[in-house]
């Protein structure tokens, strides 16, 4: 029997309270290495907060997050609305590297490579904030990719984009995963989830209702909430 791979990330009993509302309710989750995880759930189920808590942006009221090994893994996050600094596209990527202590030639080289990989070389020197929404999101992906993260969180990265731009983002996310970065992403787009996911984490009312391999999830969801969700039924019906 093959030994079960140890989790890259193990969250136990995470509880997050925001403005007096319990958004995550003792949520437990294991992220194994090498998979692309898509987090699904209805609006307000706690998907975004889960990602933010795992990434360290929201401190949990209780519960633990343990990372594998001694070294804190390199993490990055891409948000629904990319936030670009008032400088060139290339300088935005270099900024992320500079913050993480990468200077000089390696910084310039890695920034150029990342810009090229998302197909933005031609506009690398244009001010980032006047780029289109799709270009800005690709730039956000380049900024994250340049950091060579062990794990990349993406919170509905295509929700504000047209289908063409969303397809570009999907292609880039797949390429980042192919280079060995662990992907954990939320989406409302079930087609996108089918295309990208190795496994699905389904969140309902601040807890993990199920964590299932993607093909099995879409054929035969294990939890009643997920079945309702896939049929497009309202959860309270």
């Amino acid at each position: 029997m093959a030994e079960r791979p140890s989790a890259l990330l193990r969250a136990r009993d995470l509880t997050v309270v925001l403005g007096g509302v319990t958004v995550l309710d003792r949520l437990s989750l294991e992220i194994l290495p090498g998979l692309r995880t898509i987090v699904l759930g209805a609006n307000g189920a706690g998907k975004s907060v889960t990602l933010r808590a795992l990434h360290g942006l929201i401190p949990p009221a209780s519960g633990t997050i343990d990372w594998q090994g001694d070294r804190t893994p390199r993490q990055a996050m891409v948000f629904q609305r990319p936030v670009m600094l008032r400088r060139s596209a290339l300088a935005n990527v270099e900024y992320g590297l500079a913050v993480n202590g990468i200077d000089g030639d390696p910084r310039r080289r890695r920034a150029r490579e990342a810009i090229a990989k998302v197909g933005l070389e031609a506009i690398a020197h244009r001010p980032a904030r006047v780029l289109s929404g799709g270009e800005q999101q690709r730039l956000a992906l380049a900024r994250a990719w340049a950091l060579e993260p062990d794990i990349l969180f993406l919170d509905e990265p295509t929700a504000s984009l047209d289908p063409g731009a969303a397809g570009e983002v999907e292609r880039i996310v797949a390429a980042i995963a192919a280079e060995g970065t662990r992907i954990v992403m939320t989406t409302h787009n079930l087609g996108q989830a089918r295309r990208l996911a190795d496994e699905i984490v389904f969140i309902h009312q601040g807890r993990v209702a199920e964590q299932t391999p993607a093909d099995r999830f879409f054929a035969e969801p294990q939890s009643q909430h997920a079945r309702h969700f896939l049929k497009g039924e309202l959860p309270w019906n």
């Binding site: 942006l57 600094l85 008032r86 913050v99």
Partner: protein, 234 residues
Amino acid sequence: MFEIFASLGLALDLMANGDSAFVRVVAISLELSLAAAVLGSAIGLPLGALVAIGRFPGRRSLIVSLNALLGLPSVVVGLVVYLMLSRAGPLGTWGLLFTPGAIVIAQTVLVIPIVAALARQVVEDSWNEYAEQLRSLGVGTGRAVRTLLWDTRFSLLTVALAGFGRAASEVGAVMIVGGNIDGVTRVMTTAIALETSKGDLPLALALGIVLILVVLAVNAGAYAIREWSAKHHG
């Protein structure tokens, strides 16, 4: 009514011919106000950004103090600076009272709170947008302050111009600490006050027109900067 037009005619004459007394006052005024705007911005901009972003003990008292300074009558600022700089005051040994340096100090004290308050608003608005992204990248408070100051540089330039406008239009404090000495500490505002009380309306009017033009130019400049940056930098 006729007298006003006569004075206005003489004022335009003074301006057109570059009357030496008139030019001297304008030059001193702009020079000192510029120095105060630069100094006040150098202190006020980072202070505003720090208050906007930082969470440190004493932040609230700092905000209250800055807001209080904002509403402080300038003559009181003049009085306090006078007491500090006077022979018996703690900074008396500097020998700055009734020098251009004293004016710059008083104006700087007046510029700092307005620049800090406006900068805080500008930086706070951007911080609301940037905070998550910057924290995700691992940016600490010090770097966040620098990043936000640079990223809001066009808005902050207009803030600095507002500071310049405040310094240039200041009368009371400048009169008290500068002494209104002709050719040394006589600036547009104090000259206007003096010439008006002496009855030399043409010079007062000419200076008044220049002041209005300076304020207009500053605001036009601020507007142009905002338009340009919105178009080219988003």
